[in-house]
Amino acid sequence: MLNTNLYYQERNPSPTQQLWRHFSANLAAMIALSFLALGLLVMLFSPWLAPYDANQQFAQALSIPPSWTEPGDMRFILGTDDIGRDLLSRIITGMRYSLGYPLVIVLVAAIVGITIGAFAGITRGLRASALNHLLDVLLSIPSLLLALVVIAILGPGLENAVIATTLVLIPQFVHSVRNSFHDEWNKDYVIASRLNGCPTWYLMLRVIMPNITPMIVMQITSALSIAILDIAALGFLGLGVQAPAPEWGTMLARSLDQVYLSPWSMILPGMALFVLVLCVNVVGDSLRTAIKERTEN
């Protein structure tokens, strides 16, 4: 066969390609990533995928165990809860609350937090120092507690839980973006660009941003895992998503009384939550490892 590549040329992959190479070499990371993608698809198509309406009650089918057990029923693959609602439909529909809302929350928090953080990162003096201390205080208070305070003021409910979680996540973004901007700002390549007379917006967007993007993606995954857990925890405490909605944390709270009678109604939603968080964490962790490997080579 004719070889058209006449000249041997060594091509070094771009940093992003290198990152992807390290990342995709990790089997667990790829599995977690594809699970997440699957979860996203299921969430988007949940109205068509769920066999029944999430709140439809089957009076003749109360507390039916999953279909693979002896008394199970093929109509209800994952069984039903104590008032006859299909668990599979509830878990699929609940994805909107347990994955969809956290995604929106993280997106909003990231946009706001990164903007504030970027500007905070390049300011100096008293204002920066004051902001720094304020952030340290905010960060030392657990996110769930802060969310509880916000909810205590606004009152329980889905919207308020979403607002609370968003507000709570913003300081984390501000903090990490501020720190990395601060670190990069004094590196030689940025100083060189500054001496070249690049305008500040160019420095921020085109010089520094590409170098901290992996860090931001990592921060986003960790924020996503926090958001998922906090929304579920608030639902569990009865302070977030309210009862009939099929949010996983709320389902777990309900199953607290049912643990003796129908353990599956506790195990299955919890399992879904666990797998989701695990996937997000594995992706974030593998990303961290990949970044570390890339910088080491």
Partner: protein
Amino acid sequence: MIRYTLRRFLLFLFTLWLLTIVTFSLGFLFPEFKHSDPTVGSYLAYLSAILHGDWGVSMSTGQDVTEQLWIHLGATIELSFLAMLLSLVVAIPLGILAAMNQRSMFDRWVVSAAMTGYSIPVFWLAQLLILLFAVHYDWFAITGQITPLYDIPTRTGAVLVDVMLSDSANASLAFWDAVNHMVLPVIVLAMMPLTMLIRIMRDATLDVLDKNYIKAARARGLSELKLMRRHALPNAMQPLIRQLGLQFSVLMTNALLTEVIFNRLGIGSWLVKSIYERDYPVLQSGLLVFASFILLINLLVELYHAWRYPQVRQELYAEY
């Protein structure tokens, strides 16, 4: 070090002061709860009331908040310290062993177990453990601190201490009953910091073992045991100690959930209950104490860190 301590302490006081402003203004954000107008005068009155230990009266039970506060705080301190202790005792050796046998089966097992444990939602883990150990095996009790039959008077809130202080005839039985009540909450609570600390300890040990001074000490012919004890371990502990404050905050979040699930006395469950009942004096003071407690722990950890690792102080000075 004195300068550093003073500066850190002043910052802590400043933070506490900020916190009182927040809790004070909280009073005006609640629709139903307006004791006075938000003026400087009323804030000063609030501040002096707090400083004099007059924290108001609960709206739902009519009890004095100050008294209740110490009991609940005692219970939370007991639970969280035991959990932290458990996670440290398990995490440090596991992390070191995993790092020393990097890429072995043991290492892989520990790392993936830590990842899994880190991702389990606390409230689900609690339910699973209840299902297994309380419902299925009936080994451990799951609600409250102690069986009410023992009739132990609550003094400090920390139930083990209370049992020891009491002059009950069945003190030793009561003690084991209290321990029995405590096993599951402590395990659940320890899980999150435990898994985090394993990862931190493993990474730190790997990092330190790769350092030049370790290689140099090894080249000088220092024995492996001495090397670990004198150089590797103290240096690997540094990131762990730095992270300890943060881990404690995480643990306190989970304490909130754990206390609710296991129906235990504690500042977390007290706080959540006050939110349900819109019991604002309790909410206000519970929040203040909960947050100050976390800040205090963070302060202590930071001071210890700076005292033990002098080069940290230098970095801190250089920054300002």
